[in-house]
Amino acid sequence: MRLEYFEMIDAISRLDREAGRIEAIARVPMESPVFEGHFPGHPLVPGVLLTETMAQASGYLVLAHLGFAQMPFLMAVDKARFRSFVGPGATLEVSATLEHDGSGYAVTKAAVRHEGKLIADAELRFRTMPFPEGLDAPMRERAARIGLDIGAGA
């Protein structure tokens, strides 16, 4: 995870297109300016960044599902729950499942676990739209870097 750059997902460990499910790894860095403020002397990954982590795993799932034809943008976060604390050095397991593939939108359920224990979960909704000019290539590059199989559509 490069928290300051909003690059939350380090690697895709599994993508099941048929089932509409993705699993990913996110390693919390030992040090980050984020921890200087959240909280001084008591570093914890902020809930908003756990939400972003779930959103990014979901986003890659939607990108793969749509064959990179459209870009998902986070539109709604429902039922977000932060069940336990997580700090520097933790390796997080992030999962997301596609709950609904709508016309122009998609819905996922996502979770973050640490050593098998549920840390956070939420239901996320995305607006899917044509890639804004110039975003397609960097997204494909980033997806390839984390090992997302972008499939025949790529």
Binding site: H100, D101, G102, S103, G104, Y105, V107
Partner: protein
């Protein structure tokens, strides 16, 4: 109302109105078959997608919002055809019938 909706559309309307009331927090008794989702009920695009999700789930269909939006934007279809609730409900009935015919 000058023309009575069909029985199917009427039942669909009740269900859709319940969904709109709950999802967009609009008083149920202000929602009529003649209501325009945007002009009369003030539903914004985010709330409309919330409603679309609930409708998709409730009726087991996929409202073709992208095609509708394109048709309206290109001036091919007036927005009322999709956003006035009795028209929306007729289209939902059509999609449900289409799905049943395929099954």
């Amino acid at each position: 109302m000058s023309e009575l909706p069909t029985a199917g559309t009427s039942a669909t309307f009740e269900r859709v109105a319940d969904i709109i009331a709950e999802t967009a927090d609009i008083p149920r008794d202000t929602i009529t078959p003649e209501s325009h989702a945007i002009d009369d009920l003030g539903i914004d695009s985010l709330a409309f997608l919330d409603i679309a999700f609930a409708v998709d789930k409730a009726f087991g269909i996929k409202l073709p919002l992208e095609r509708w939006t394109q048709e309206v934007n290109e001036g091919k279809v007036p927005a009322e055809e999709y956003f006035v609730l009795k028209n929306l409900c007729a289209r939902i009935d059509g999609l449900v019938a289409e799905k049943a015919a395929k099954a």
